[in-house]
Amino acid sequence: MLKDKYKDRIAAIFAKYPPERKRSAVMPLLDIAQEEYGYCTEEAMREIAELCGIDPTEVKSVVGFYTMYYEKKVGKYVIDVCDDLPCVLRGADKFVNYCEQKLGIKAGETTPDGKITLNVVMCLAACDRAPMCQVNTAYHYDLTPDKFDKLVTELKKG
């Protein structure tokens, strides 16, 4: 259970919001669940609902609405490449082609070893340094095929 393993962290999250507004903690708690299980499991969503005093379907609606919550298992590393207009003007489309070719998968898919999921996503607010991507939480800028090769080598080690 999250509430046992992350007791202090969860208490610190609830302390940020008025005591009668526990629901505000839904998203920070989902972050913990995703860190722990890799995606928002049904069990975690039920636990979070109980902690926040709301219905499990209300938690599930939040998971469904926001793009950063995963409802299914994803790779250990998720590479999100922005392919919105400003990034494509600076070569993001060709970069995505390269990523697909290098990883041998299509955008949206996970490598067979379960290590890497490749996604294309909407604007990541780093248009000045495109092509760029986010790997889990970290931003990587001014990407080239060379830099991507090195990045993938690092990720495969981890």
């Binding site: 003007l89 248009c127 495109a130």
Partner: protein, 448 residues
Amino acid sequence: MEKHILLRDLDVPNIRDLAVYSQHEGYAAWKKAVTGMKPDEVITVVKDSGLRGRGGAGFPAGVKWSFIPKDVFPKYVTVNCDESEPGTFKDHQLIRHNPHQVIEGTALCAYAIGANVAYIYCRGEFREPARELQKAIDDAYAAGLLGKNLFGSNYSLDIYVHLGAGAYICGEESALLESLEGKIGQPRLKPPFPAVSGLYSKPTVINNVETLANVPPIVLNGAAWYKQWGTEKSPGVKLFSVCGHVKNPGNYELPLGKYSIQELLEMAGGSMTGRPIKAVLPAGSSSPIIPASNFHAKLDYEAMAAIGSVLGSCSWIFMDDSVDMVWAARKMIRFFKHESCGKCTPCREGTHWALSVYDKLLSGKGTIEDVNLIGEVNKQIIGKCFCPLGEFATSSMTFTLKHFKQDYVDFIDQKKGGSDVYLKELARDHHLHELHSGVVSVNGIKVH
């Protein structure tokens, strides 16, 4: 400009550290306010400075603060750091490289309206910058700049960081509040406005990161000092995020009304490709596109309105003459279709159908009737949506059709649709759509 007011990280190395920030007048305005100014005096100086909201709407910040009722408790400040408009990356730089100025501005706003709690709402993707921001907040607490009984006064303030999880709509202020309350980010009906009923139904000021970063120097140096930059109606300095086909993309801090679009383009090094610049989106995907023939316009709210566009959040996406506006418009519609919150029908269905028509054009099956159909679909969205997102979605259609109709005509006449590049782009988008909507293939038949 000799020195930056906002991008001070470009002048002062390591200003992100509290010690360095403090050596450069950091928190001087904060101390001055709490120890020597009444809350109303802070509101007055911000009002007098003419500072307008930097998130896009341009509403005068001091006036917004003055709407907060005095006799309702508690009140809240929420800081909008949901920066998600394609082309915008200014708040990202501020919270990462000059976080204390954002914290100090937030604190001053809270003091001015009598709030004891402020939330800084960062888009979920800003996990690392948010961690750095949290570290700066922790340092401010440790230095006695936040917390209880500040500077020996009765005034206490807590500032918290709250992370979203990927939704453009949460940049809309009432959707942001919903999200902060733990719900899906769908906008609220207005009125009541947040000043009356905001976070937890209490009076709330919502300001953009950049707006608040302007406040410490204004409180410290006075309204007249700030008004030495900019124009009478658009005083002060503004951050311009410049990207697309320019040699030196990045954030530029400029006085409002001084330079023209052409000069901004030259500051950013001019065309990256050597080809002539054809057009610019001045405030990201949501803004009316400006053809190069209007690049003489000055960079302030009024001059931009005069050429039929907006200053907005100042996210300048320059495009050279290789860009086909049919393709560009589709890219923008794809964004809004993806980001529509689904609450109101004209936006949810309208963006879906508009994208379908653009997909048909790109696939090579479009006719001139489809171009006219875009105009029709567009009409069903304009003025009919619950919040500005739907309206934003129509800009790309309305203004590419207005200024670049020839691109559409040529697209059909010269059979530009159906190229390998377009087909690949469409196939990728459709593949992702199917994965995300849970469509699976059984014996070659797609079922939900």
